[in-house]
């Protein structure tokens, strides 16, 4: 019974639903304010994302004529759920995940893919040609960041495994957290720094932030994948987008900044929040304010050459035993 209660708390409050949503809204709000300040604007209030969410929820949902209702509603929901599930597997606080040992990095990778796929299938189900263009771009963006992401995962796993005691879990997040608890954060390992930089590049593309938001380009294709969405499903997509900012930054913390623990849950959470804020500024706000949107093929070429190259350098270095 107590187990059930604890699981319920994990899923609903911390580090599940509530915490993710709060963090997502916080990061998104700060991101907007930072970008505005860099562009010499005032920017919206901190909770603007939340207000948008509430407002969308109250609006009417209009399903287009060519749309498929079940998927129109189901896809945003499933995507959001898959994203929240990831938070349960990340050993963010105290080096412990809510449900440890049940999912590894590959599961995380695929759950993140599932989130994007839900978005794509949902867009596809609206039957809009704008969404068609948007989803094709989203697919290419996905292919783009997936290669460096995979290389980073292999690099980190290999680095941990090389030092470990032959654990049978090769992609285990718990092993990565334990290793960092014993040996300090992986980012202090010089051979892993290129991989960390590559991962920093993966974050904005995975989240779909500005210079890489080819699939939602408002000015070109009317928000592409979201073109036909309205009402609560749109609200859910917006929320998914915000929560993804938190999940991706937290994933970076798990992979490269783990092992910094004070033993107190509250303090650890605060440290995590600070890391997430810094990462949001570095990977999302700064490029957003500085760069104009890339073309689709530019995104692809950039990720498969520069970013994948950085990750590959790290993988080879780790392989050679550095």
């Amino acid at each position: 019974m107590t187990d059930l209660l604890f699981n319920l708390i994990y899923v609903l409050l911390f580090p599940g639903l509530l915490f993710c949503v709060v963090m997502g809204v916080l990061l998104a709000g700060l991101d907007r304010i930072w970008v505005a300040r860099m562009q010499r604007r005032v920017g919206p209030p901190l909770l603007q994302g939340w207000y948008d969410f509430l407002k969308c929820c109250g609006k009417e949902t209009i399903i287009p004529r060519h749309g498929k209702k079940a998927i129109y509603y189901g896809a945003p929901l499933l995507g959001f759920v898959a994203l929240i599930t990831i938070s349960l597997f990340l050993p963010v606080v105290n080096g412990q995940a809510a449900f440890s040992g049940t999912a590894d990095l590959v599961v995380i990778l695929y759950l993140l893919t599932l989130v994007s796929v839900c978005m794509i299938v949902g867009a596809s189900a609206t039957g809009s040609p704008f969404a068609g263009v948007g989803l094709s771009r989203e697919m290419v963006a996905m292919i783009s960041y997936e290669l460096p992401f995979v290389l980073v995962i292999l690099t980190v796993s290999k680095a941990v495994l090389a030092a470990g005691d032959g654990a049978s879990y090769t992609f285990s997040l718990q092993a990565i957290a334990d290793y960092q608890a014993a040996n300090g954060p992986l980012i202090t390992h010089w051979a892993l720094i290129p991989a960390a930089i590559a991962m920093l590049f993966v974050i904005p593309c995975e989240v779909g932030m500005h210079p890489f938001d080819v699939s939602e380009a408002e000015t070109e294709i009317c928000e592409g994948t979201l073109a036909e969405y309205s009402g609560p499903p749109l609200a859910l997509y917006r929320l998914t987008h915000m929560v993804k900012m938190f999940i991706m930054t937290a994933l970076f913390c798990v992979l490269f900044l783990g092992g910094i623990s004070t033993g107190f849950v509250v303090l650890d959470t605060l440290i995590l929040i600070v890391f997430c804020l810094v990462l949001t500024f570095l990977t999302m706000s700064l490029p957003h304010a500085v760069c104009a949107r890339f073309k689709t093929e530019q995104v692809f070429q950039f990720y498969w050459t520069v970013v994948a190259g950085l990750a590959a350098v790290s993988l080879i270095l780790v392989w050679l035993g550095f």
């Binding site: 899923v11 009417e60 004529r65 498929k68 189900a125 040609p129 995979v150 292999l154």
Partner: protein, 646 residues
């Protein structure tokens, strides 16, 4: 009772063959009787294979049946044997389930064709020959079954000969398929000349003593290429594409789900039991390399396709590439991952081919650029397709995810253990191929089921129930085998993997106790896979929890107002005449349907790789002479490698 159960392997094979011949006797007059004969035969074979599960998979017995009771005398096996260990039964189960589903599906799907007698006779012979192949304990018998299999498959490919390219596809398959069969025969002949026996168990006992004999290496190369051609590995994949595109969907299921499995089974039998040379690094490179190249080239070629079933064909071979990659690792985890994926491949690929068949049955088209918006008209088929697509792309919680997860684990572990970068590249390729597979299936989803419905398809209806039932069987299997990976591992994969690593007991079961020890063959078997599952029930319960909460929250926050929606959508559906002012416009131009054609969906990706795509598109020239040449050249390379190293 137990003595009677020993007859089941031969009876199961006989049932399918006799059913086929009986069908040609009675089926010409009585259409109903024909279906009853087919149904009884496929169900009978399925039941007999299921009856063997208890003794073989659970108790670990090896059932040996000597035709005509010609048992080995003084250590020489002259008679023909059927030998069923857990590996054979594992593939046997895959075969009978696929035959059953395909047979039931055919009843409605083929109802518009004529000369159905020929169809069912060939179909049953195809099923029987494949079942005979995996249960056989005799090398020459395997060749005979391969021949029956190839020729019935060729005939069935050309069954709808009025299709454009049907005869062409069958012709290519015939020529290059015969090439593969010939290589098999050459390999068998060499082995027979050296060892004077054709019994698998006896060959397995005698071969390791021949390790100095260069002819053993030559035979290995020929047999490997022979089986690889049956699995359509690189460079034989164009045949599969041509054959699948024109074959009836039920036959596509057989070709992708069953025929390719023969090649996989053959390669496992060859490397692990006959030669027991899987611990040699060069064999690992050879098998894994073939698998990895196949899986990557085929998935990229799928991007170029405009025909629904051609696209599925390339994916089918790409997934077989995964299986071979995993099998080639030589570790217990690799083998079980490969077997798991082989099983899942039959399930999800069968499902996808059947949904393609359903689309073809109702619309008469397989053109990805011409179809669209069918989800409104065929909701059940769309749901089934999405399940199949999610499975093949390896999305959790479907079965493709569980097996692919094991493949990544196995390749990565192999790379770390041997400290060999080759396996890491393979691992990256495997992960990448999975994303590309997903991308490619998004394209199909978008261009067939979603998007806008062309005017000419507005009267399309859902397929009849009898076609949906087989598809739902496969879809449920997709989910069940994905949700319970631990159970699948314990009940199916572990016994089969154990059989793969127990050459000695395979030999002893046929040749008598102690025969393996006499020839210094010791094998340990496998008792555990040394890795726990990726996706424990706890975590998907958590997922379920989340779903419920999310739904509640959405509902509480004012959520979807169903009354209004249904009002909106029905009003729209009833609007027959489309007002042109509601049409989408692009930069002042009136839109044509589906702005982004299926072929252009990945422009950013394809543009950056245009040289690669141009090269491989030209490589698939469609000329049978070229394909034969590729086969011969690759054989020459493998031959050279085997002679030098083995």
């Amino acid at each position: 009772m137990s003595a009677f159960i020993n007859n089941f392997p031969v009876l199961a094979v006989m049932t399918l063959f006799v059913g086929g011949f009986l069908n040609s006797l009675v089926g010409r007059r009585h259409a109903v009787l024909q279906k009853i004969v087919v149904l009884v035969a496929v169900t009978g074979a399925l039941a007999m294979m299921l009856a063997l599960v208890k003794p073989v998979l659970v108790d670990g017995e090896i059932i040996t049946y000597w035709l005509g009771n010609w048992e080995p005398v003084e250590g020489w096996a002259i008679g023909i044997a059927l030998e069923v260990d857990a590996l054979s039964l594992f593939f046997g189960l895959i075969v009978v389930v696929a035959v059953f589903v395909s047979g039931v599906y055919s009843f409605t799907y083929m109802s518009r064709d004529d000369s159905l007698v020929n169809y069912y006779t060939l179909f049953m012979m195809l099923g029987g020959s494949v079942l005979g192949l995996v249960l056989s304990g005799d090398l020459f018998n395997i060749f005979v079954m391969v021949e029956i299999m190839t020729f019935t498959a060729v005939a069935l490919t050309a069954f709808r000969s009025h299709y454009e390219g049907a005869l062409e596809g069958a012709m290519k398959y015939l020529v290059v398929g015969s090439l593969g069969s010939t290589f098999l025969l050459v390999g068998i002949a060499i082995l027979y000349s050296q060892l004077h026996t054709l019994n698998l168990a006896q060959i397995a006992a005698l071969l390791p003593e021949q390790s100095d004999n260069p002819l053993a290496g030559v035979a290995f190369a020929f047999l490997f290429i022979g089986f690889a051609s049956k699995a359509f590995l690189f460079p034989f994949q164009p045949l599969a594409a041509d054959a699948h595109a024109v074959a009836p969907a039920s036959i596509s299921l057989m070709i992708s789900g069953v025929l390719t499995k023969c090649g996989v089974y053959g390669i496992i039998r060859l490397c692990y039991i006959l030669y027991q040379n899987m611990d040699l690094a060069v064999v690992q490179y050879l098998v894994t390399g073939f698998g990895a190249v196949t899986m990557f080239i085929c998935v990229t070629m799928a991007f170029q396709q405009h025909n629904f079933k051609r696209l599925l064909a390339f994916h089918s071979i790409s997934q077989v590439g995964y299986v071979i990659t995993a099998v080639g690792l030589g570790s217990a985890l690799g083998v079980s991952a490969g077997l798991y994926h082989a099983m899942n491949h039959t399930i999800f690929k069968g499902l996808l081919f059947l949904t393609a068949g359903a689309v073809q049955h109702q619309t008469g088209s397989l053109d990805l650029d011409g179809l669209g918006g069918l989800s409104k008209k065929m909701p059940s088929t769309t749901a089934l397709f999405l399940i199949g697509a999610a499975s093949i792309s390896g999305l959790p919680p479907f079965n493709g995810f569980a097996s692919k997860w094991m493949i990544y684990q196995a390749t990565f572990q192999k790379g770390v253990e041997t400290n060999n970068f080759f396996f890491i590249i393979v691992c990256v390729l495997a992960l990448l191929t999975s994303v590309l597979t997903l991308a490619s299936f998004i394209k199909v989803t978008q261009s067939v089921f979603f998007g806008q419905l062309p005017e000419k398809y507005k009267d399309v209806k859902e397929v009849p129930l009898l076609m949906r039932v087989p598809m739902w069987i496969l879809a449920v299997l997709c989910i069940v085998t994905g949700l319970f990976p631990t159970q699948v591992q314990n009940w199916l994969l572990l016994p089969a993997t154990n059989a793969v690593f127990s050459a000695a007991s395979y030999i002893d079961a046929a040749m008598g106790e102690g025969y393996a020890a006499l020839h210094n063959i010791v094998s340990s078997g496998v008792t555990s896979l040394g890795v726990s599952t990726c996706w424990s029930p706890l975590s998907w319960l958590a997922l379920l929890f989340c779903v419920t909460c999310a739904v509640t929250i959405v509902a509480l926050l004012g959520g979807p107002d169903n009354k209004e929606d249904s009002h909106v959508s029905t009003a729209d559906e009833n609007a027959e005449e489309l007002d042109p002012k509601y049409e989408p416009f692009f930069s002042g131009e009136e839109s044509v349907y589906s702005q982004v054609g299926g072929s252009d969906l990945f422009w950013g990706f394809k543009h950056s790789w245009r040289k690669y795509f141009t090269f491989w598109t030209n490589w698939h020239s469609g000329v049978v002479n070229d394909y034969t040449l590729y086969g011969v050249v690759v054989t020459a390379f493998v031959l050279l490698a085997c002679i030098i190293v083995l």
